[in-house]
């Protein structure tokens, strides 16, 4: 358990809860209750039931034969793209809304970048009949119009964040401000393994169903629960946290996180936090953060709206600094090519976020016997515009 959060809310030197006093009661309420709620039989039953019958879990573990042939290894795709709403994000929103209900909250807020977490939140709020407000950068609202409309159809109010660069970081700021102003009746569903403790641990637990299923499915398929590699993309890091979770203590499983290099880590347009960031504090936790020498947060860039966050979750910062997870990155070009390749070889158009994970297959020295699991975190429907603009297919 040496990679899990400690009782102070830290992963090694990363984590904590750096929040203004106005949020202390809310975060403290969560901190003191989340484990007992999540581990209660009644919660587990409702959570598991919704994951099975509403989300469509377990998601398949698909042996991608043509991709395997190309990269000379046995490559499985964990099909999170087949979850209801099209990505892994809903695993977490189901968990958090059940938790919010048990804490007696009536209203839900969330931030969203590409809109996947916003849609997943709007969806569970509709399901549970709860009022929902999603903050989204004004620029992202223009770039991701279909997801804005999906949220509105689901009855959610989408509020544009008009501060800063009007993207995910600013939407998160606005959601936190809203929470400061509405501390008693509102639960904030954070979409990634970021934010003050206990959010990173809570979100990782809800997403850990991914690696639990991989273990079960591999055992059924091969008789061995352990793959040689698990590969997942990392923006804030929720799908990676879920895909790695039950393998963290099995050190013989190579865990690979893939960040968005944007136009290249040597350009000023990148989102590769482990390559470019240093220790800092944003949105309530101490982690690796892309920032100037003066400690001002730098706006990251990636073609993928789900990966352009200036930090990573504290758990990932710890996994990076201990060397437990190897962090690689893929440029816009590499990710787009990988997305097209997966479409052609397997008939699966991946989300551009997930295409980053596929893109590093060619960077690994794989052998025929290696069993590789790529976490396909989302589907590409939302990215059609970007694929079309890209044009090289």
């Amino acid at each position: 358990m040496k990679y899990q959060v400690d009782e102070r809310g830290y992963y090694g030197k990363f984590g904590g809860a750096f929040i203004p006093e106005m949020l202390y009661p809310n975060v403290e309420e969560l901190r003191t209750n989340y484990v007992s709620i999540i581990e209660s039989e009644d919660f587990k039953k409702e959570f598991d039931d919704l994951l099975r019958n509403y989300v469509g879990r377990p998601t398949p573990l698909f042996l991608a034969e043509r991709l395997s042939e190309k990269y000379k290894a046995k490559i499985y795709l964990k099909r999170e793209d087949l979850c209801h709403t099209g990505a892994h994000k809903i695993n977490n929103t189901i968990g958090q809304i059940l938790l919010a209900k048990r804490l007696g909250k009536q209203k839900i807020i969330a931030e969203t970048g590409a809109g996947q977490h916003g849609v997943a939140t709007a969806t569970v709020c509709a399901l549970m009949g709860m009022e929902c407000i999603v903050y989204m950068g004004k620029l992202d609202m223009e770039r991701q119009r279909p997801n804005v409309e999906r949220m509105r159809i689901l009855g959610t109010k989408v509020v544009p964040a008009i501060s800063g660069n009007m993207t995910l970081k600013d939407a998160t700021n606005e959601a936190m401000r809203h929470w400061i102003n509405h501390p008693t009746d509102t639960h904030y569903i954070i979409g990634s393994v970021v934010g003050p403790h206990p959010y990173p641990d809570m979100v990782a637990r809800f997403q850990s169903v991914i690696s639990q299923e991989i273990k079960n499915q591999l055992t059924n398929e091969t008789g061995n629960p352990f793959p040689d590699y698990v590969i997942a993309c990392v923006g804030g890091g929720s799908n990676a946290a879920g895909a790695f979770y039950h393998f963290l203590d099995d050190e013989h499983v190579n865990l690979i996180g893939v960040e968005a290099a944007g136009k290249g880590v040597d350009t000023n347009e990148s989102a590769a936090t482990t390559a470019l960031g240093k220790i800092g504090i944003l949105h309530g936790s101490k982690s690796l953060l892309m920032q100037t020498e003066d400690g001002q947060v730098i706006e990251p860039y990636s073609i993928s709206a789900g990966l352009d966050y200036p930090g990573i979750g504290p758990m990932h910062a710890h996994l990076f600094s201990t060397g437990r997870v190897q962090f690689l990155n893929a440029t816009d070009d590499e990710a787009m090519n990988a997305g097209i390749e997966l479409s052609r070889l397997e008939g699966i158009i991946p989300a551009i976020e997930s295409a980053h994970a596929v893109a590093v297959l060619k960077k690994l020295e794989l052998s025929d016997e290696d069993i590789v699991v790529v976490n396909l975190s989302g589907r590409g429907d939302k990215d059609l515009e970007t694929y079309i603009k890209w044009g090289k297919y």
């Binding site: 750096f18 006093e21 401000r177 504090i281 400690g295």
Partner: protein
């Protein structure tokens, strides 16, 4: 003696603390605003260290942060400016900001440079009590800097007592569950909170902040505490006048005397 401690030992009521963002509206205004405020009779100045992501602030202070950063303000330059302010200024100077710029500056270096420049206290809203006590307290104490903690209407009594025990100087009492910003008047709930706080008989004096904008709100806050902090309304004043030097005295007077 620390100037904050000295102030509260010599004056128990109607203390006016004024917040403004360093480097706003222009880079060098940090210095002239401080001088004018002292001349106009402010008791404390709180200078904001601009940050790219001020999550506890409303739109007015957010905008001033952005403009200050665009003007080229940073912590290193701010400490130089404070040194210059301190050549003449007698009043307590507090720096207020978010933790990350301080962390990047280096906490040891920050404490020693700030104290040398003439800073008396620091307010870092995203530095919670136990983190302060674990990692920062000794450095603050070594340099004679006071760390000012916040409490709000949702802070439990036991936590208020804990914060009171850990505080020196004064406690920053946030008037409502909200981000910073001028509201005009206080609700009954807020006044009830002020009364409750007053009845706790804390060892530290309190200043009430957030939502102070005029004579009425300053007077009510001062009735239930040692005084008040004005921020967003002062930033708005700076934005609205063509020459703040000419208007400073009347602005400060308008808070202390009914128009």
């Amino acid at each position: 003696m620390n100037r904050i401690t000295h102030l509260f030992s010599s004056k128990a009521e109607n203390i006016l603390s004024v917040f403004y963002t360093a480097g706003f509206p222009n880079l060098s205004d940090t210095i002239s605003i401080a001088r004018e405020l002292e001349r106009a009779g402010a008791d404390i100045i709180e200078i904001g260290i601009p940050f790219s992501d001020p999550v506890a602030d409303g739109p007015v202070i957010q905008e001033s942060n952005k403009i200050a950063l665009d003007n080229g303000m940073n912590l290193k330059l701010l400490l130089k400016q404070v040194k210059e302010i301190r050549q003449e200024a007698k009043l307590p100077i507090i720096l207020m900001g978010y933790l990350n710029p301080v962390l990047q500056y280096g906490i040891e270096k920050f404490c020693s440079d700030a104290a040398q420049a003439g800073v008396d206290g620091v307010i870092l809203p995203d530095l919670p009590l136990h983190e302060f006590e674990n990692e920062y307290k000794s450095c603050f104490e070594k340099n004679g800097l006071l760390n000012i903690f916040l409490i709000s209407p949702t802070t439990s009594e036991s936590r208020i007592r804990e914060i009171d025990a850990a505080s020196k100087g004064f406690i920053y009492s946030v008037s409502a569950s909200s981000t910073t910003g001028a509201k005009g008047s206080f609700s009954e709930d807020q006044v009830a909170y002020f009364k409750r706080l007053q009845s706790l008989k804390l060892k530290n004096p309190q200043l009430i902040g957030f939502g102070i904008s005029n004579y009425e709100s300053f007077a009510i806050a001062s009735k239930y505490s040692s005084g008040a902090i004005i921020g967003s309304a002062f930033i708005q004043f700076l934005k609205s006048v063509s020459d703040f030097k000419l208007e400073m005295a009347s602005f400060i007077n308008s808070l202390r005397a009914r128009a």
